[in-house]
Symmetry: C2
Subunit: 151 residues, 2 copies
């Protein structure tokens, strides 16, 4: 294959492909430094099922932890969250509870709880399941949200 | 009781309590207008268990829906989420799946899935459970995140 006419030579020059618009890929989600969702979730479930999670979870909460209830109420900071908890315990006797999980994700983890409770005022017993969704940042729980099965 | 000495009178004047710093209560969490998490979650679980959720969920996604996988990868927008799904289905044969829930919260809902899958390449079968956490804004799914049980 020898010389080509200048026309043919021009034709054979492949056009550089039009520069593709750079597609900005969304950044990978991460919980940052410190203990991972798997580690924190694993510890929570294990201690919960031994009835030992209450003290420990305080050390796992961030100082600005946000706790969201099913009705939309938020409590922010460990003090407020503990007050909500104390108020609930004053009304409720827990007859039994188990935790299942953790279900581990990129922003945190989820735990499925089964609760058997008695209302202290009426004596009425209930059994319910709920899912706690925990958000982790730098090894601390920055948010917990509780979601309820309506049965 | 008659006149008191001016000293006693002064003593008996109760001090006005120091003005308490107004505590700003955090606003209630809400998903805004449109269908509620209970409605959307109920429909998703019901249709999923009839094998009819695939088409419907497209109409429930927001235009900017964000889908977060366990490894931190995000896909944004219905097109990208469907591509992820198609890629997964090309590798995986679903032999059975059920949805449990919804677990309804203030920002959205959670669904527990049980899956029985076969890897198309190796033929290896797996059974796993996962939790999908869905965030709702104004009647649309703006985020879905999948969290996995490590068994």
């Amino acid at each position: 294959m020898a010389k080509k006419s200048s026309k043919a030579a021009k034709k054979s020059v492949k056009k550089a492909p039009a520069k593709k618009k750079a597609i900005k890929k969304p950044a990978k989600v991460s919980t940052g430094k410190g203990a991972s969702p798997a580690e924190i979730g694993g510890k929570l479930v294990s201690l919960f099922n031994q009835g030992k999670a209450d003290e420990w979870i305080k050390s796992a909460w961030d100082k600005k932890v946000r706790s969201i209830e099913g009705d939309g109420m938020q409590h922010v900071g460990p003090k407020a969250v503990l007050e909500k908890w104390a108020w609930w315990m004053s009304k409720t006797e827990v007859l039994g509870c188990t935790a299942e999980g953790p279900y581990v994700g990129a922003t945190g983890f989820a735990v499925k709880y089964a609760l058997h409770c008695k209302d202290r005022a009426s004596g009425k017993e209930t059994r319910e399941t709920e899912v706690g969704v925990y958000t982790i940042k730098n090894g601390k729980i920055v948010q917990e949200e509780f979601m309820y099965a309506h049965s």
